[in-house]
């Protein structure tokens, strides 16, 4: 009898471990995916947002704040093929000239019930601050 309980316990322990592994796997994979997506999307969106008319008039590189926000949101969403959405993009300080942005992605993992009263999900937060630099 005790062996059967032990077996059940072992199986449950294994399952818990597996869930933990899945959770952390999702965290790390999501985190890594988020990070690179964030970086790439930020870079592309900053370039997309360059106010060329201002450059032509003054020779200075400036981005359009809302064009950056738009393009980043669209790009990031488009490449986020994992999950079903459910993430929040927070834009911090955006300086048009000189071009500097700060973006944060808050991505929630799936919920996992690991011996808790409520299912456990973890927010994966990635943030980046970046500039456009170049030669005068």
């Amino acid at each position: 009898m005790k062996w059967s309980f032990a077996s059940v316990g072992l199986i449950m322990f294994g399952l818990s471990g597996l869930l933990i592994i899945l959770l952390f796997n999702e965290i790390t994979v999501s985190n890594e995916q988020d990070y690179y997506t964030l970086k790439d999307a930020t870079e592309a969106a900053m370039i997309d947002a360059i106010d060329v008319a201002y450059y032509r008039l003054t020779g200075e590189v400036k981005i359009s704040q809302e064009k950056f926000v738009e393009n980043f949101t669209r790009r990031f969403t488009n490449v986020s093929t994992f999950g079903e959405g459910n993430y929040v993009i927070e834009f911090g300080q955006i300086i048009e000239y000189p071009a500097k942005v700060s973006v944060r992605i808050v991505d929630a993992t799936n919920s996992y019930n690991i011996y808790t009263e409520e299912a456990t999900s973890v927010n994966i937060v990635n943030e980046i601050s970046a500039i456009l630099d170049g030669k005068k």
Binding site: Y55, K62, E70, S80, G92, I94, P98, A130, D133
Partner: protein
């Protein structure tokens, strides 16, 4: 991915101030009409002078006066004058900060970034000095001729002439005395009787001094003499003769007046009114002829017309950026003719022609530049008028304006863009002396870039600093400097003068367009007709591509000349900021100078936007992405996409996607499109 900066190749920029005074001194001797005027006395007014065929003084011709009517007079005015036109052409250029690139005569070398603009000021000032030197007046009158006839009446006696001896006239010698009409011997002559008797027998001699004539047998007759005196009178004047005249002591009494008809005679006493009229007319005519020289410019300016599609990021990768275009003629603006009197009979007219496009419009969303050359077109709705700017410094005590010439954004290093300034019309061809005057004033040593336009209008692509391509058809030879067309003999003269060019043989062509093989100074094959010389200044600009990256061979564009860099907010530049970085001077001690204000660099102290990407929102976004590309800035009709000129994104603020954003930054937190810290005070940025 964004590429790093490329090596920048430079060519010397040649922006020239070409100051050319082409003076056309012509002294005009009364080629202007000789004034033929009539003064109608009866009416008391003077009719306007009638232009007759002019002649040059001293040519032997005289004005015809036969047709002066009775009682009328006429006048002729001749005047000498000079009309000296002068043309001055000034070109200057300005950088993106409005700084003039020519300080005095010093050429400032500078490259211009692709996509940005170069300020240009091209001005032709036409001046004409006029002067009337002297007026010669001839005043003729048709008068009445009369003759006053005077008569002197006198009695004339006519006598015969007799002669007799006067008693007193008998003269005897000493031996004889006169007794009546004979001489008798004198007594007491000491002579003896005998001797007296002998003497008495001798012929007695008497001498008479002379016989005297005296009138005898006289008769009296009456006679008269006429004296005529001619007079001239005005038609309405009564002739007047004196009652008498004393001539040679004789009194001639007035007899009658005879009408001798008319006479046309020059009257040296020219009335002041005539003189004033002549003077006024000479000045008016001279001024009218002088002003014609300044009515229109002698030159035209043409610029490249292009449409560079800037704003469509992907297009550049398909372009080889070999921007070519057609030259379009730029109109000129003028403020009217300024008159500057120097004296009563001397003055000057000045007119300034500013060559520039009518308008230069930039689309703030697409950032495309469009030139309007003529007509009443205005900039479109999303366009701003970026035509003129002002110099940052005073030139000759004035702040001058320039117009903006935009270089295409996708122009690669080494491409040339140019404006061409050329004389037009009949004055297009200069004579040899003027050509050489210009050539001599701008020797090759000053490293001006000379360009040749081939016969087909394309640029010469030779690499030597002094490129000469002589295309010898029936146009003689084309000297590369400023695109002048000059006689081949003169061209060879220039070649010989500047022997430093080593590859003449590559560039001289014979009549058959073959390579020149003969000696420079005796190539008779290439001698052709002298077509004169065309003054044409082609000002080209060397550009530097700073926005896009370029391939290693600099033949096409690739990527951007900017790079993306992730930073640590607390230490964004751990290795310092390069001196040529665009961030140099903008960041210091954690503060960023945004041009509007200095702010602390932070990350998420203040959240400006929050986008909630639920599954539903994600679908909206993906649908939106299918219809609108990432690089689209323009709004499609009926859709909420693109950008507004006020800097708002339709995706963020309007339509079905706006609900994605639960937080949005205030609209005054960002600039309008095309606006930023440098030009925030421009009118379209303020409004």
């Amino acid at each position: 991915m964004i590429k790093t900066n490329k090596k920048i190749t430079k060519k010397i920029l040649l922006i020239a101030i070409i100051i050319v005074a082409i003076t056309n001194n012509k002294i005009v001797y009364a080629e202007a009409p000789i004034e033929y005027g009539r003064v109608t006395r009866s009416s008391g007014s003077s009719s306007g002078p009638i232009e007759s065929k002019p002649h040059t003084p001293g040519d032997g011709k005289v004005p015809k006066v036969d047709n002066i009517n009775s009682g009328k007079s006429s006048y002729f005015c001749e005047y000498e004058r000079s009309i000296n036109p002068n043309t001055r052409i000034v070109m200057n250029s300005y950088d993106i900060n409005g700084n003039p690139l020519m300080n005095g005569n010093i050429l400032v070398n500078q490259t211009f970034a692709s996509g940005t603009w170069i300020g240009l000021r091209t001005q032709e000032t036409k001046t004409v000095n006029w002067k009337v030197y002297q007026n010669t007046y001839k005043y003729y009158k048709r008068k009445k001729k009369y003759t006053c006839i005077y008569e002197w009446s006198y009695t004339q006696q006519s006598c015969d002439t007799c002669s007799k001896w006067q008693e007193d006239d008998i003269i005897c010698n000493k031996n004889y005395k006169r007794e009546k009409e004979k001489c008798v011997c004198r007594n007491n002559t000491g002579l003896t009787k005998t001797s007296i008797k002998k003497i008495y027998d001798v012929n007695k001699t008497c001498t008479h001094s002379s016989l005297k004539d005296y009138p005898c047998n006289c008769t009296n007759t009456k006679n008269s003499k006429i004296h005529e005196e001619k007079i001239e009178k005005e038609y309405n004047e009564e002739p007047q003769c004196s009652d008498y005249k004393i001539i040679d002591g004789n009194k001639y009494i007035f007899k009658e007046i005879r009408d001798d008809g008319d006479i046309i005679k020059e009257d040296s006493n020219v009335p002041k009114a005539i003189k004033d009229t002549c003077t006024k007319k000479s000045i008016t005519n001279t001024k009218n002829d002088a002003i014609k020289y300044v009515v229109s410019p002698t030159s035209e300016l043409r610029i490249l017309d292009f449409y560079d599609n800037a704003g469509k990021k992907d297009d550049y990768t398909n372009e080889n950026a070999n921007i070519e275009g057609k030259l379009k003629t730029v109109t000129y603006e003028t403020e009217g003719i300024e008159e500057e009197p120097i004296s009563a009979n001397e003055g000057k007219y000045i007119k300034v022609f500013n060559f520039k496009p009518k308008k230069v419009c930039m689309d703030r969303i697409k950032s495309v530049v469009r030139y309007i050359y003529n007509g009443d077109s205005e900039c479109n709705q999303n366009e701003i008028d970026v035509t003129t700017g002002k110099s940052s410094k005073k030139e000759n005590g004035k702040i001058l304006e320039f117009w903006r010439y935009f270089i295409p954004l996708n122009a690669i290093n080494g491409k040339q863009f140019y404006i061409k300034y050329e004389k037009t019309g009949n004055s297009k061809k200069l004579d040899k002396e003027e050509c050489y005057s210009i050539i001599d004033n701008y020797p090759l040593e000053k490293s001006y870039k000379y360009l040749i336009l081939k016969k087909d209008g394309n640029s010469f692509t030779g690499s030597s600093k002094i490129d000469k391509e002589i295309v010898n058809q029936n146009e003689g030879c084309k000297y590369k400097k400023n695109n002048k067309l000059i006689d081949i003999k003169e061209c060879i003269k220039i070649i010989n003068k500047y022997p430093s060019v080593s590859d003449y043989t590559n560039y001289i062509r014979t009549k058959n367009n073959e390579a020149f093989k003969g000696k420079k100074d005796d190539d008779e094959d290439t001698i052709d007709k002298n077509d004169g010389c065309i003054f044409s200044t082609k000002v080209s600009f060397d550009i530097e591509q700073k926005f896009y990256g370029q391939t290693s061979n600099y033949q096409s564009l690739k990527g951007y000349n900017l790079y993306f860099r992730q930073i640590d907010i607390n230490n964004p530049f751990p290795n310092g900021i390069d001196n040529d970085s665009i961030w140099k001077g903008l960041y210091n001690s954690k503060k960023v100078n945004t041009g509007k204000e200095e702010i602390k660099l932070s990350s998420f102290d203040n959240i400006t936007y929050i986008a909630n990407i639920s599954s539903k929102n994600a679908n909206k976004i993906r649908t939106f992405n299918k219809e609108t590309s990432y690089t689209q800035w323009t709004k499609d009709y009926g859709k909420n996409n693109g950008m507004n000129v006020n800097g708002q994104s339709y995706f963020v603020r309007y339509g079905s996607t706006k609900s994605i954003f639960t937080t949005k930054a205030p609209t005054d937190s960002f600039y309008k499109l095309g606006c930023g810290p440098t030009n925030k005070d421009w009118s379209w940025c303020k409004s």
